[in-house]
């Protein structure tokens, strides 16, 4: 039996989902379907946060070019109509759980796009990131450009995508593309600690924040405010909110609450 392309391991309520499509996690229908299924499975099995990483030398060196041949792209999502690569990315963004990407080695082209579809990105210092599609005459086709525009503004986004250069992790952190840069040897422990903090947090409130931020990013402040209104009910009636308020009232510190994700 072949090795699975995607594995799921658990650390408490944190689902650690790892890509291992040798040699370099080139994204094809199989890998993307595997990721979607792992994420849906994690959600079903009660995960409160997801850490997405690679077990290979690189995070992902990009899209397998077979993806762009007619017919193949439709294979993503198990052939569900309207899925395809963008459907895969949307499934990450629509997942109610916070997703942290831990990036080491190369995250190029489609690999960068997978990271950009996650909520937070932690990067090893020696990692190299870039929207390199232009180097082979392509433009990024898996959501990179709009997501870069949202993070760094149009001028920098165009620069990154038009020149197709590789970038240093610290540069991307300084520009606001990624959240945190750590020494190579520290990536595993730090990304775990980072994701675990979310996994033991108030899951409903965190999910609301994700929805509001994504809506605002896609459609502006007004859309974000609308989502905020939608989320109000669920957050206010959550047990975690009541736990937080109670902790605050008794100890003066909301952060002393033990959230349970409901």
């Amino acid at each position: 039996m072949a090795e699975p392309l995607v594995t799921t391991e658990w650390d408490g309520k944190l689902a650690v989902i790892a890509m291992q499509r040798a040699p370099h996690n080139l994204l094809n229908a199989g890998l993307m379907t595997g990721l979607m299924e792992a994420i849906q499975g994690a959600e079903r099995d009660g995960a409160r946060a997801i850490l997405l990483r690679s077990k290979l030398k690189h995070f992902s060196a990009g899209a397998d070019l077979s993806l762009f041949e007619p017919g193949d792209g439709a294979g993503v999502g198990g052939g569900v109509k309207g899925a395809g690569p963008m459907g895969f990315l949307e499934s990450l963004e629509n997942c109610p759980l916070p997703i942290v990407a831990a990036v080491h080695g190369a995250a190029l082209g489609g690999g960068l796009e997978v990271a950009l579809a996650c909520d937070l990105i932690v990067v090893a210092r020696s990692a190299r990131l870039g929207a390199v599609e232009a180097t082979i005459g392509l433009a990024p086709l898996m959501g990179c450009v709009p997501r870069l525009v949202a993070r760094v503004g149009p001028a920098k986004a165009k620069e990154i995508a038009m020149f197709g250069r590789r970038y240093d992790a610290e540069t991307f952190e300084r520009m606001g593309v990624v959240n945190l840069v750590v020494d190579d040897d520290d990536l595993e422990r730090v990304s775990l600690s980072y994701a675990k903090q979310l996994a033991v947090g108030p899951t409903i409130a965190i999910g609301a924040i994700k929805k509001i931020a994504n809506a605002a990013s896609r459609e502006g402040t007004t859309a974000g405010d609308v989502k905020q209104g939608d989320a109000l009910g669920a957050v206010m009636s959550s047990k975690d909110m009541r736990r937080g308020i109670k902790a605050f009232a008794t100890t003066g510190a909301g952060a002393s609450a033990a959230f349970e994700g409901n």
Partner: protein, 402 residues
């Protein structure tokens, strides 16, 4: 707007550290300090490196700004001169082995006969009249005798390597401060009563007094694995982004602070982790607990952000730096944390600045460091200094200009 101790005259018989640190504090607060030394070497700290022989930097740091008088007390005339000087003293400070100055007729009983207003402070290891008064006292020996060394050995445990005394002479410096405090208190008492007195200050007692966990060390209560004194001294040192180290000021073993830490770390799951369920277990599994804390620290990129997050828990953090590095910081400049003194070879050396700022007084940094006997002519109550010098009773060095 003068200095707080302006007009106070101190006769200073002290040598090395505990006594000189006391009289340095009095000098810094504005007193006139006349340091009396024997001929030959004088205060032996004039010699060890670094710095010019006869006026080392160690000597400079403690003794800059004090006038230097050099008289041989083995001569009756020398003793008479100094007794005369003590008539005009507000304060006398000495740190000889108890009984030494009595031999020279310069003990409190004799000096206060001529000057009942004198405040006379004696600093020693174990006090003037006790069963240990005859014992020599150095910081490491006092640290050992009064139990601090044992506490340190227990504290550092297996990480101690080969145990040794630590890098600071706590017993000397703290005792110097306690002596200065005693002098100031006696000055206040004199202000209301007109009378001086003898202040007997013991290093061993000082070290107990400054030990904030003495209540544990003296009573040895059952602690159930909880660290002592808020675990303040179990503050872990952790690696920080960019290669430096930081210290966080709480013990993760102490239950009280473990809870605060877990919250500020957003890791309340640690509170329910069976490895960390009690102080004893946290001590046993400290390496794993430290891993979690270290990982969390590494999720911050700037020290400022980290410290701000710590304020959520009412805490702060510290960067591990060298003193040299710190002395070049903006704060050090704002405070005047260091000042310079010109040594006897004309080199400028940095020494610590003042720990106080007075709203209604001005302090003068020390401007010079004196060679042995440099101020004899200015200070000694005699018209006949050449004869005394020729007889070897008084010894005056000329400052050598290079």
């Amino acid at each position: 707007m003068g200095s707080p101790l302006q007009g106070i005259r101190v006769i200073d018989f002290t040598r090395v550290l505990a006594g000189p640190h006391c009289t340095k504090v009095l000098r810094d607060l504005g007193a006139e300090v006349l340091k009396v030394e024997p001929p030959g070497i004088g205060d032996l700290t004039r010699y060890p490196p670094p710095g010019p022989l006869g006026c080392s930097h160690y000597f400079t740091q403690q003794n800059a700004g004090k006038k230097a008088v050099c008289v041989d007390l083995n001569f009756a005339e020398g003793r008479t001169l100094i007794r005369e000087l003590c008539r005009s003293a507000d304060v006398v400070v000495e740190n000889f082995r108890p009984g030494t100055l009595k031999h020279f007729e310069l003990d409190y009983e004799r000096v206060s006969q001529d000057n009942p207003r004198v405040i006379y402070a004696s600093i020693s290891g174990y006090g003037q009249r006790t069963s240990m008064s005859h014992r020599g006292a150095f910081a490491p020996t006092v640290h050992a005798e009064m139990g601090m060394l044992r506490t340190l050995i227990n504290h550092y445990g297996s990480t101690a390597g080969s145990p040794q005394s630590d890098a600071f002479s706590h017993a000397d410096v703290y005792t110097g401060l306690e002596a200065a405090i005693g002098v100031l208190a006696a000055l206040q008492h004199r202000h209301t009563t007109g009378k001086g007195q003898h202040v007997d200050v013991a290093m061993a007692a000082t070290m107990l007094s400054v030990n904030e966990r003495a209540h544990v060390d003296l009573n040895e209560p059952e602690m159930d694995g909880e660290p002592v004194a808020l675990g303040a001294t179990e503050a872990p040192i952790l690696r920080f982004h960019g290669g430096g180290s930081i210290v966080i000021p709480v013990s993760p073993v102490l239950t009280l602070t473990f809870h605060r830490l877990a919250a500020v770390m957003r890791r309340n799951d640690l509170l329910r982790d069976p490895r960390f369920a009690s102080a004893k277990l946290r001590r046993k599994n400290i390496a794993e607990l430290m891993q979690e804390i270290q990982s969390w620290v590494l999720t911050f990129q700037t020290f400022e952000d980290f410290e701000v997050q710590m304020t959520e828990a009412g805490l702060a953090a510290g960067r591990v730096r060298s003193m040299a590095e710190f002395s070049q910081s903006k704060w050090a400049e704002e405070w005047g944390a260091t000042t310079t003194v010109v040594d006897t070879e004309g080199a400028e050396i940095k020494v610590p600045g003042f720990p106080w700022r007075f709203s209604d007084c001005a302090l003068e940094p020390a401007q010079f460091v004196a060679v042995l006997g440099e101020h004899n002519a200015e200070v000694l109550p005699t018209d006949d200094i050449e004869r005394l010098e020729a007889a070897g009773i008084v010894s005056t060095r000329r400052r050598v200009r290079s």
